[in-house]
Each structure stands twice: as C-alpha cells, then as structure tokens.
Amino acid sequence: MAFPSTLGAGGERAQRSVQEQLTGGQSDVVGQVFRILLLISLGVSLVVLAILFQDVITTGSGVFTTRAESFLSGGLRGSAARSGISQAMAGTFWIGIFVVVFSFPIGVASAVYLEEYSTKGRLARLVDVNIRNLAGVPSIVYGILGLTIFVQQLEGITGGRSLMSAGITLAILVLPIVIITSAEAVRAVPGSLREAGYGVGATRSEVVRTMVLPYALPGIITGTVLALARAIGEAAPLYLAGVTTGLLPGKQGLLEPSQLRESFTALPVVIAEWSRNPREGFTEIAAAAIIVMLAIVLAMNTVAIVLRIRYEKKRK
C-alpha cells in the first residue's frame, strides 16, 4: 500500500539496506530436509501397514475363494487342505467371554475404589503402583502364573490344561488395562456432578451408581473393548497354559460349556503354528486365519474409537 514517503534521500538508502537484510538469509535447506525426514518416519508405519495388509490378503484370500466353508467349519488336521479354524474360533470366543466376565466387573470395581473411595489411602497407593507394574510384565510371565496356579494347583476345578485355565489367565493379563482405562474415565467425570449428588444427601455408592458410572460408561466400555482386542491376540501365555498345538480331537466348533474343562486351541496359536509349518499349503491358511483375526481386532478397535468420539462429541 503506497503512501507518501516520509524518508527523504538518506532514508531511502537506509530502507534499501534494511530491505536487503530482511529478505536475505539463505533458504532453510537443512530445515526442509529435516522436516522431510520426519515425515518419512511417519510414512514408514503407513507403508509397513500397507505391505502387511497386501501380503496377507494376497496370500490368504485364495483360501476363502476356493474353500471358504470348509475352512470356517473345519478343525485342526494333519494337512492344510483339510484344516479349518472352527475350533480355534470356539476357543477364542470362550476366552473373550472369560475376559468380559472376569475383568470387566473386577476392573471397574477396582477403578471405582481407587478413584472414589480411597484416593489417597495407603492401600490405594499400593494398588496403583502395583497395577502400573503389572501392566508392564511380559505376557509370558502371566503364562507362568496360569501354569502354576490354574493348570497345576487348581486342576480339580479347572480341569488342568483347559480352556478355563487359559481364559482366566488371559483375563488376568488384561485386567490392568481395564483398571487403568476405567480409572481414567472415572477421573474425567466433572466434580460438579458428584457435588450435586452429595448435595441432595446421596450416599457415596448412590452417587457412583447414578451419576459417576453412567457418565464414565463410554470410556469404560472403550477400555474394555481395547482390552478384549488385546487378549484375543495373545498367544504366549497360552503355550504355557497348555494350549493344544497338534491335533484336537472331539466335536468341532461346538460352543458347549462342557468344553471349558477340556483341551482347546485359539486363533493366535493356530496362526503361530501354521506360520511355522513348512508343509504345503500352511502359509496360505495361516494368512487366511490372519485375515479373520485382523478383521475381528480391527473391528473392535474401530468400535472403541468410534464410541469414544461419539461420546466426546455428545459431551461438548
């Protein structure tokens, strides 16, 4: 925007010199290169995921196009052409049930205790430290817990190397996740809500039941779904808890509760075994099983994220 210059001749010389200096300075090559390197590192994850999906789908989709039904209904067999994932799905299904039945109530109850009842108490602090440590324990060490206590010591109840032992072990594995995410959800409940409840003379359990939990429920459910997705993908503890890796006799794919005390298999284990099996056809069915597992796990993660976004929007 031009306007009459107030500078005069000497001023114009100064202006030119200032102009040179302000517009000089090298273009920031190093800065640009740095930025591009950072963007590339973000791209690595994207590329890896893309290649992973592409590889799994090309390797495994053939199974679905040629023998989808027998794959989904068959059990563990000696040859790849006759093997299927029904027994594995049954096992994974029951493990999921155990996680929900065991971890959800105990996890939410622990979170409520930590956040509502005893925030500063000594027991609460101990529990808090303890849970953070448990969250970092390798999954295979949980397998040792399962082996010692549920497979051996409590063999009478669980049936030893059974679905029940495995289910409880994995439920224990993900319990810290449920507690931590539920505690966060409870902590996010605004204090004004609680005060309103106490103000009309409600007891603590009533405030929790009628105000805190309903508000925190979406966050709690998100956390539980994520924990479930994690438990479904775990294989290492199952090896110690006695999963069957060879052939599994018995009725295929039935969801009978009596199965709980008997030998079992699960989807991630089946994937692991078939991946390692050099014989003909096993790579393909491993990939097919991975497609199923990824579909389940990604669906769960998406549900959890969608839930969280929907309820965050509603809050605002």
């Binding site: 500078l7 001023g11 010389r13 200032v18 517009t23």
Partner: protein, 295 residues
Amino acid sequence: MGQVDLPPAIEPTESLDVEDLNPDKEPTVVLSDAPSQEVVFAVRDLDVYYGTFRAVRDVNIDVHRNEITAFIGPSGCGKTTVLRCFNRMNDLIETARVDGSIQYHGVDLYDQAVNAVEVRRRIGMVFQKPNPFPKSIYDNVAYGPKIVGRKGNMDDIVEKALHRAALWDEVKDRLKASGLGLSGGQQQRLCIARAIANDPEVLLMDEPCSALDPIATARIEDLMQEIKDDYTIIIVTHNMQQAARVSDRTAFFTTEVNSESDTRTGLLVECDSTDKMFSNPSDERTENYVTGRFG
C-alpha cells in the same frame, strides 16, 4: 546496520477541527506534533484477524527511534495483538491474519519476500511471564547470539548483556547454574539480557512487570530508562502509572462492541507525547481512562 542521519520526518498535514473531538465521530488518530525523531515503524490502517473475527482495527501509529512508546488501555483491546505484529510473532498462530501495513525503516514487514526469522533478530521480545530456557544462565544468554552467528567472544557478549540487564553482579559467580533457579524478577532480567544479547534495534515488551512484585518492577523500570538510548522500546502495560513514569510517547487503545456478533474489537484512539496524554488528551475517551473514570 549502518547509522544514517535522516532529515526530521515530514509533519502531518492533517489539522484538527472542533468536530473531530466529537466522540461519536470516527476516531481520528492524532499524530504527534512534538519534536520528532526518525520513524522506525510506520503503521497504516492495520487490522488483525483471527479467522473471521477482527480483533483490532484501523491502527495508525508511528514509533520513533530511541523512545519508549507505551500501549495502554483496558483488557482485550488488542495491545498485545498489535505488539506481536511488530516482530511477526502472530505468524505462529494458524488463524491470524494481518491487513494494512507495518513499515520498518520503510520496508513492509509483511512483504512476501521478508523472512520472519531475520525480522526477529532485529526486533526482540520480552514476554509477560518470565520464560528462561531450562538451561544454565550462561546458555540462556548465549542462545541467541549462537544461532544468529554473532561474531566475537561469547563470554564477553554474555557478560555485557548481563551487565546491561543489571543482573551481572548477582549471577557472575554462578553462570553455570540453571536459569530456573532465579527469583521471578531475576528471571525476567535474564530474559531481558537474553533479548539484548542478540543486539537488536528494537525491544518489544509485553507487560514485563505484571508477574513481578513492586520492587522487582521498579528495578526493571529503572533498567528501561538506562537502556533507552541504545534501543527503541515499545511496552504494553496495564499499569497507567508505569506508562506515565517510563514512556516518552503513549498510545491509548479501547474496545468497541460489535452488536451483531456480540464480540469486541480493539482500536487505537489516540497517540501522543506522554505528558500531553496524561495532562491534556485530545479525545474524551482517553481522558476518561487516564483519570480513572473507567477501565
């Protein structure tokens, strides 16, 4: 930067009518008729937007060399927003946009070809809350010169800057100690030393004393008087008395309500020599503010 002797700035040809003093009329900016120095910044018709919201409008002001110019006014009238235009700090905010022009020695600061990084090396800033780096006192002061590539002995540069900021005697034995270990007033003087170490021409100070106690405040006001001869200083302050004590020229901002959107937009009402602004201002709104009738 070369020192050039310039002829005095041309007097503005606008004259005042009685009508201009009517508060309902569009505010006319009164430019100073005091003995003038070289103009460092010439701001014309400056508007600042955050997205579609116009935060400040129609700012017209000249800032003169080796003077302390104070921006005063009630909260939310855009003083800090305008201040941050002078060193292009508003660039850091995604939605911020500037209309109009700010000329620095005749060069449009917002010209496409101007590099904001170069601008900030010549126009330094001290912030409201002291923000020393979590580094040693020495490294805090040396940070600017190092990245700018100032020639000379770094120890000397650091010592000189700390002297000028009236901090040297208190820290000379613990230059390696963390800057965060100093008191609030000392930290702010450290930040001033850090800005001075870059050898800027201009110092922008955004309410530098508002987080400090009165004694620390007094020390910094003294400091400003001491260094005035070497720098051009623009200071934003909530404290009218501080502006009266310290500045040569004062600019008064206020807000007006936008009825449709229920927001407030800031604007510059009047800018004149400090004596005149506080004893005999031209605009009634200025008079109301400085005599404490509102704000």
